[in-house]
Subunit: 564 residues, 2 copies
């Protein structure tokens, strides 16, 4: 007699394939005797009916199907941890099930393909991941418990941002905040706390000013873009051409020479629309524009200018460039369309400083058996020079290191090392991450996974993952553990899922970030409104917990995440 | 034989009370012969069955009931304008209806009380109001028609605000915008276009600046409050006490002397919370505060300071006062709670100028038969000196005068006069409205209704009304005409429903404003974000149409709105 009891983790067809078929084949008989009986066994001390079968002389495939039915009925009893009494009408069903399943076996594929998507993970691995549930639940309880870690990430982040405010790369303020963090990580008793030096060319805003001067006087709220050159010291006054796209610029290219080009492009998405901030200056400069003012990259504004990096093209004259508000871009567009001759006065002064230095900040939980293998969890400490860098990316940096603090508090040490990285100079183009890649290129093989949060720490609802299909299947199993907080969505993507970690994802390291309710992220992004008011204590707790258990499980699993 | 045909406007019980009972009583017989028969009549060219009854010797009350049944069945056919065939099964029902209605008559009250609320308007008046439906529908179609008035209010408002920007009372800019409006109203061929002079003491912001200087340096976005005194020219530097309420101020009153008091009160509602802006300075000054910085009165901020008037108390030393942002107030509160000694540097410079002049702007559609009776429709042209005054109150002013323009285009001249008022110096405390009241006090009796829009021109959904119960019942009938745009809500309130018009409401003139989806109104209110981006063309069209037909109906109705 053969009987099968499932943990309820694997899909039914997968269970049949991995357990039932090999078991039947092991008997090395071509025909089996099958007899469906019923019995009782105890699950969590409550009796549950299930079905066994004994061997009768029938074809192998039929035996498999009936074994599967046995599994199926067992599942009815224990699937998902619910205990259901199987009633009499239910016990009549196997007859119908046999017919359905025999039809399935004729097609073979439906039996051997998993019904729950494309994943064909070994049941043993899925069981193993499911085995982390008690840890997940304990950590989730801990961060939601007033006597546990509840509110601690928010409290730490608010003290940090309140103390330092914005943290532009190249400023003493950022370096002071890094010193503060090193001290904080050490007092948290994390392993191997240290900083790694980065050298780069810094950029800093000084005085800047934009004003519509004709046909009426109106100050234009603005922020010079990262890396922009200055105007001449006395400022420039020039006529305005308003365009709504690069195509529109091309149409009006003959009007642009000597003028200030205002871009009033509609917001589609950050990814789609940010090209106007990045390349607007050089594109307009090609036709002789003397400066560009670009509508801020945001779906919502309270007359809010947004900062950000721009990127001059090689071989094109560098012209001053800044973002203005959505409202002012629309205003100028309307006036321009009415045929008004618009003139703007623009004065911008910024400073470049070669050989600026900063530091990436590192802390670890050393692995117990395989300490040179790494799961990296990260956010960036630097910010733009407006706002408080609470959202971008204080939240990401603080859920990262607090996730290690939480594991430390539980005494949870995985097999492999969890390394927390607080990047520097992300805003100027992943400068800290590139420097880190360069100096750690030799250990790149040992990176199992790179995790980052740089798109908000709002209410989390799942995982965004970039890696091989099998890795994605593993992460999907991990995501299932977050059902108690409704964060089981698993989004596998061909795109990179981080900012700094892009650098590593491009080197074929799997990348992960959290899906979170960040619909308003770009309302605040790179503005004076990036403050603690954006951050929610409860959401930070859940983000911290998810980072903690995800990095713990991946660093502790019997297998490493397979790279493609 | 008596038969009753209803327009479907009145409630059934009301119809019975007003029409059936008097009709039956007119026959001056105690007993009547009743015979229920059926017949056909034509409603909008389609045959509809109804029920007549003829007189048989029965008690009066029973006759009334049966008359009512006749009405009831007629209503089935024509109620709500829908034409329904009355089927055979329906014609069997009167027997059951007689029983129900006889029971009703035993209780009397259910028959004589209207079922649709507390209103007991005469059917004739309700019929009369319902009779305006064709005009309402025509106007609504017109403002939603590309070839009609669609988009015209928005276009006019954007040209106006783009040309003039903010319009602070006492500035040449406001006066230029008033000249523009007078010209615009004349070219719209409105009657009696003119301005009426107002003299007042103006206030104007000059340089102002607030900065946290210890324990770290952070500029604080701020707006000095209307009427605030200046600091000494070199500015003041003082320690900070943060309070969260007037009670908290009282608790900390011994710490306040010589300090800057920061109010970080939570936002409850504008009406509830604005007292901190109005009275925060004087309350803190009582305990020796040298200045006050008040959290802006808003439920949402992108580090957005809000302007507004404040109101020094008599006999208390006047100290400089400004609003800071929600985010900065919370930041200072957190730092203060952590025990940091906070110091702020504050420099404010403003100018008062006595004998400033401005003008209320007036235009009319003269009434055809009773031109000295007035329905007043209004908004204020002035604004604070930040933003563009597009929402507060460009939208209100522009739906007001455009509602007259729409009526003019239709050649609709009501019996009484519709007078459009574009107030000046509202923001400084209804200065224009008070001046107007004073100079028009003798004709106050002739004001039937004062209408204003000063709480947004978002999607309208009904009417807010302040007046006698009977007036409210009339307005409720008018509101029903807006069912095609889902704007039938009628909110009758004991409170005033406007800003400038408060002045007249306090003199027992009924007041009206529109209910609109203004949940975000205070996000923009008195900020740089009060721009055309807030205004939606379609919503402006509907607001314009509602102002047009409401003012037309009330100015044209056979009765004047009864004052209490
Ligand atoms: Zn970032
Ligand atoms: Zn207003």
């Amino acid at each position: 007699m053969i009987s099968f009891i499932s943990s309820g983790v694997c899909s039914r067809t997968q269970y049949a394939r991995e357990r039932v078929i090999p078991a039947v084949e092991n008997i090395k008989l071509k025909y089996y005797t099958v007899d469906v009986v019923s019995a009782q066994y105890y699950n969590n001390r409550r009796p549950v009916r299930y079905i066994e079968f004994s061997v009768v002389p029938i074809p192998l495939r039929t035996a498999v199907v009936l074994g599967y039915i046995a599994y199926l009925y067992n599942t009815v009893a224990v699937n998902g941890g619910r205990q259901m009494a199987v009633d009499r009408s239910r016990t009549l069903c196997p007859v119908a099930a046999v017919i359905v399943l025999l039809l399935q076996t004729l097609l073979i594929q439906p039996l051997t393909e998993a019904s729950a998507g494309h994943c064909r993970l070994a049941c043993s691995l899925r069981d193993e991941i499911a085995g982390y549930r008690p840890i997940v639940d304990r950590v989730l309880s801990y961060v939601q418990d007033q006597k546990g870690y509840k509110g601690k990430t928010w409290a730490a982040l608010s003290e940090f941002t309140d103390t330092f405010g914005s943290r532009l790369a190249g400023t003493p303020n950022l370096e002071n905040s890094i010193d503060y963090m090193l001290n904080r990580l050490r007092t948290t008793n994390l392993d191997n706390v240290h900083a790694e030096r980065v050298v780069f060319t810094g950029w800093q805003r000084r005085k800047e000013f934009a004003r519509l001067v004709s046909p009426r006087v109106k100050n234009l709220a603005m922020l010079g873009l990262g890396g922009s050159v200055s105007t001449v010291p006395e400022g420039i006054r020039a006529e305005v051409v308003v365009v709504t796209s690069f195509d529109d610029l091309l149409n009006k290219s003959s009007e642009v020479n000597g003028k200030i080009v205002v871009y009033n492009q509609p917001f589609v998405s950050y990814g789609e629309t940010v090209k106007y901030r990045s390349k607007g200056a050089s594109e307009a400069s090609k036709y002789g524009a003397v400066a560009t003012l670009i509508r801020s990259i945001t779906p919502f504004s309270l007359n809010t200018p947004h900062a950000g990096q721009q990127d001059y093209s090689d071989g094109v004259k560098k012209i001053p460039t800044a973002c203005i508000t959505v409202e002012d871009a629309e205003l100028l567009n309307r006036m321009y369309n009415r045929g008004s001759k618009l003139e703007i006065f623009l004065k911008m002064d910024s400073k470049f400083f070669a050989n600026a230095t900063s530091r990436n900040t590192v802390a670890e939980i050393k692995g117990s058996t395989d300490p040179d293998k790494i799961v990296l969890v990260s956010g960036h400490l630097d910010s733009w020079d407006v706002g408080q860098g609470a959202m971008d990316d204080g939240g990401g940096a603080f859920i990262s290191w607090n996730s290690l603090a939480v594991l430390k508090n539980f005494g949870l040490r995985p097999k492999r090392t969890i390394r927390c990285l607080l990047w520097t100079a992300e805003e100027e183009g992943y400068i800290g991450a590139y420097a880190y890649l360069k100096s750690h290129i030799s250990e790149l093989e040992k990176f199992n996974l790179v995790i980052e949060s740089d798109e908000g720490t709002f209410q989390p609802y799942g995982i965004a993952f970039h890696g091989s299909d099998t890795s994605a299947c593993i992460m999907a199993e991990v995501a299932k553990l977050f059902d108690s907080i409704n964060a089981t969505t698993m989004q596998s993507t061909k795109d990179n899922v981080g900012s700094d970690i892009e650098v590593f994802e491009n080197m074929n390291i799997p990348g992960l970030s959290l899906l979170n309710r960040n619909e308003k992220y770009f309302w605040y992004h790179h503005t004076e409104a990036d403050t603690m008011a954006v951050e929610d204590p409860d959401s930070l707790d859940l983000n911290t917990a998810m980072f903690a258990v995800i990095s713990y499980i991946i660093a502790d699993l019997s297998v490493e995440l397979p790279k493609s």
